[in-house]
Structure formats: C-alpha cells, structure tokens
Symmetry: C2
Amino acid sequence: MPNIKIVGTGLLGTSLGLALSRQGITPQLADQSKSALRLAVEYGAGELTGPEPDLVVVCVPPDATAEVVIRQLQEHTSAVVTDVASVKVEIAHQVNASGLGDRYVGSHPMAGREKGGPAAARADLFFARPWVITPHAGNTNDAIELIRDVALRVGALPVQLAAAEHDKAVALVSHLPQLVASALASQLSSGTDDELSLSGQGLRDTARIAASDPELWVQIISQNSKALLPLISGMRAELQALETALTDIAAPGSLAQVHSLLTRGNTGIARIPGKHGGKFANYSQLTVMIDDSPGSLAALFTFVGDIGVNIEDFKLEHSPGAPIGLVELQVLPEASQRLAEELEKNGWRLV
Amino acid sequence: MPNIKIVGTGLLGTSLGLALSRQGITPQLADQSKSALRLAVEYGAGELTGPEPDLVVVCVPPDATAEVVIRQLQEHTSAVVTDVASVKVEIAHQVNASGLGDRYVGSHPMAGREKGGPAAARADLFFARPWVITPHAGNTNDAIELIRDVALRVGALPVQLAAAEHDKAVALVSHLPQLVASALASQLSSGTDDELSLSGQGLRDTARIAASDPELWVQIISQNSKALLPLISGMRAELQALETALTDIAAPGSLAQVHSLLTRGNTGIARIPGKHGGKFANYSQLTVMIDDSPGSLAALFTFVGDIGVNIEDFKLEHSPGAPIGLVELQVLPEASQRLAEELEKNGWRLV
C-alpha cells in the first residue's frame, strides 16, 4: 500500500483522508491552518506525521495549487505529486516551468458540495464520481497508475484526458452553467416579492447552482477564462439575436429566431447522458400525490418496491402553500403501465 | 353549481374537465379536432352537449385564444368567459377591442407538463398550483367570483393580479428561465460525447426545461415580448460584461466583475421562496447512499418515517456508471442531528 500525504484539509482533502482511512490507509495530513488540520485529525482523516510519501495529493484552493505542488515536489524528491483543482492547463504550465514536472500528474475528482471546510467532509464524497487524470508526456505509467489506484480505492471512476481537453470539457459542462445560473439569479433582484411568489420548479432548477461559493468560483473561472470565453461569447450572441427578435417580434424572421432557439435547446438537452450513462429521457414518468407527513413517502416506495419495480429517478415537486407533495417517479417504460395500474388499484392518487 | 363549458380539449382543457367531473360538475366540451374531443369525452372529462353555460373556459393555444374568447362571448350572450393562456395583456387588449370585454376575465392556472394533448391530462394537474386571475375595471365581482370558485374546486390557489403585473411576473420567473435554459442547452451542440459524459447534476438542473415544447413556447414568448425584452437585455449585458472580463482576466477590474456576478447570483437565488412559501435554504441536508434496487428507497423512507422525521424535500443524485444512488434528504434543522445519529446507528451509509 502506498504512503500518502494530503496537503490541505478543507472539504476535498479531509474527505479524501476519511475515504482512505476507511480503506486501511492512514494518510499524513498537512495544512497551514492549525485549526483545520487539528479538526481533520480529530475526524479521523489521518495523522500529523508519517513515512516519506509515495504520493502527495495537494488539495488547496486553485489559486495556491501550483505553488504548493512545486514546494511538495522539492520537499519529497522521489514522490509523485497530484492535485484536485478544477482547472488543469494553467497549473500544469506553472509546475512544468519549475523543471520538476515529470513527477507531477494533474487530476480532478469531480466531487464537491455547496459547503466547504473539513467539517463538511464526507468519506464517500468521491463515490461513483468521475476522477479525471490529466497526464502529460513526461509522466511515467507508474505515476499515473498510483493516482488511478487512489481514485479506485475511494470508489471514484478514473477517466484519462489531456489537460486542455479536460479544461474545455468542464468549461462547457460545469463552468458555463455556473455563470449562466449566476447571471439568471442575479436578474431576480429586479423582481418584487409578489412576482417571486409565482416561482415554480423550472426557475428553482435553472438557478439552483447560483448558490455556489463565489470565493472558490472566482478562482476557477479566472484559471479557465480562455476555454470559457468562446462559450460565453456564444451565449451572449444567442441572447443578442433573441434581443433583436424581441425588439420587433412582428418583423420577418423574429418568430423563426425564437423557434430556432427553442428547437436547438431541445437538441442540446437530448445530448446530456442520463443516469448510469443511459440516455436522459428514456424513462417513463408517473406522478403520485402524497400527503406531507412522516411515512407517506416510505409507504409509496415500499409499495413500488414490493411489486418489484425499480425507481430510476424521482423528484418531489413543490406545492407552494399546500401540505402535500407530488412525487415524480421515473421508471423503465416497460414497467410503467403495470406500476400505474397497481398504484391506482391500491388507492394511490396518480396525477 | 355553475354550468361550465370548456373549449379546447388539450392538456389543460381535458385536465380541467377531469378535475371538475371528480367534483360532480360535468362540463360541456368542445374542440375543433374531433379526435381530441372524442378522446376527452372517453376519458370522462365531460359531455358533447350541455345547458347554456354560466362560464366558458377557453383552453386553446395562446395564439388562438383571443379569437376563440370573442366567438364564445358572441355565442353565449350572458356567460362569463375566461381563458388559461400564459400571457394576459395582449389577449385582454384584443378581446376588449371587440366591445364584449366586460364579460371576459383573464386567468392563468400555473400548471403544465412537458407533454401536451388530452392523453397527458391529469385530474390533479391544478392541485396546489397558483391560479392567477387578472380582472379589469369592467368586470363584476360576480364574474371574478365564478372563476375563483372553479379554481378552488379543482384545488388550485387563486391569486389576483392586474394583467400587466402578471405578464411582468411570469416574464421574470418563467419565460426568462425558459429562454436561458434553451440558450444554454443549445451551446451543448458544440460539445463532444466525451465532454458531455462529464456532465453532472448542475448542468442537468440548469438546462432541464430546455426540453419544453417549441410550438407552445414560441407563442408565449411572442405574446410577452415587451415584458421579456428588458430582462433578456439585462442577461445579455451581464454576459457581455463577463465576456469583456474573460477576454483579459489579468486586467484591473476583471476578477471583481466575475466575483460581483457570483455574489449577486447568491443574493438573487436567496429571494426565491421555498416549499410551502418558506425560505429556500432553511432545511438541513443529509445524504444517504443506497443501492439501486427495488425496495431500497422504500427501506430508507420507511426508516425515516418510523422515527417520526418528516422529509421536507429529497433528490436522487445521479452516479454515472455506478449502480448506486445518493439520496439527499432535506429535513428541519432541529430533526437533522437525531436523524443522522439514528441512520448511522442502524447501518445506513451517510455520505
């Protein structure tokens, strides 16, 4: 088993320490904040000292990552060093400029929470999440394998990508949605309380991630500005064309512009892979009304489980002002009709 | 009990008919499509004939609404006529120009589904949803009361707003998010399958409503273009400022621009009212890992119900490629610690 040192005991570092400890590996922990470090040790994420590490995992904020990686490469002259930052090209560039880059392999476990700090850590944070490894030409297979091994031990799914490919991918699937949600939510300031009281699930979902931490995200956005720029330009151009169409909706081409945007939105969303890598919209949906009391969800899921139908996904629809819940169940199409019949036969309110 | 006629047996008209039938009121149904009309009657949404109506509810697409409302006002010379379209000012303007507007009261039940047509109808579509009524100065209280009565009978929550206020509100909380989600999803066409395979719940939620029906939405957007224009301009200006910042992220003020956007996003999302009219982020969250098999959700919810804790909201997090589910439970803060302890003590995997 490899000797592992974790530098930075925030959410990701402490979670990694907890996950490794569960697997019988006790990492050495380090953090410049004595209180964060002590908290992580008390939680059982690792020890203050340890043997010379085979692998150092740098889990500090994106802005500090390159500098800390270089310091660890200098301090541990035979160790492989990796990091967990969400943007890879710029950090690799800075580390390689130090001349020590051969022992640095970038990586990005795609896991996180809205809350940060060691107190928010969870041993299963990485479970079933992609862990992207972004090696460069100077890396040995052994170095890469060391990180794959850690990823697998904590239950993550290792994926290998070039750093530039990774940054381009997360710009599209993570950083662009973050900025769009923030921009949308920021428009809500113009609304009155009465207007906002008409908010439904659509707005809630579209704007949800606008609640993310600005301190972390300003670092991510600034490090990935090059990959983000064409995407933000694309969104801006899309809205600009829409603005022109809305300015004179009766003009020739205006409706076609709006219709084209809505249709291209249909095409785009169909490209997001669904649960378990399947297609997004392959499930049949049934909606059941329940009362909003302890046990009513349980009764529903017990019933569905008892008749042997697997719930692929589910969601509770909000009902502002009413003590009821609408549970949307996604099931395989072949199970849908039987489930609907059984539910109705047994007095469930299908809506 | 009032005599009711429903014109248009698509999703909304058929759902309204089903809901009224359950309450012992059999509406008369009409639709220019003989097959849609027959289907609605076979479903039990109403009859082909009926007595002279006290209230006509026009449930046709937004573009056709004003014309059909006027025709119904002419045909039924003592009836009140309402409609269910998502935009109110333009329809009211056209109807009032006919000189028959005194008996027309606009309304908008805020309910819908991604699917349309009578086959998608549900008797409880309106349950616990706002039903906005937008009277004008010429309406009598009796006319308004007739629509409030129907809304209450089908379980909706009547809200009264001026038509212009309504249109401004839905532009912000419904039409802007739709266009933003469509514009975001349309950018996904530029991504490769490998890039999209890294999609997480953030992108899924932000883009979800991009799956909506373009034919319906092009009508809604075109009728509300005036209220939407300043909001789309605001979003465009926001993205333009961001584009400038990303073009030279090292320039003075660039980071501050990004940080300001993220912070204003935090402020904006906090203004969306949460479940039951409460605040959005007032619940404590616990995440439990379950295996992805029939009955495992049921076992979890049974356990939570048995210890008397109410689940305020919940969500299944997707785990691409792995047969497990992460269930996020939202509970009242005072119940959170006890629930966590009980779950852990009984072998549930808290993450």
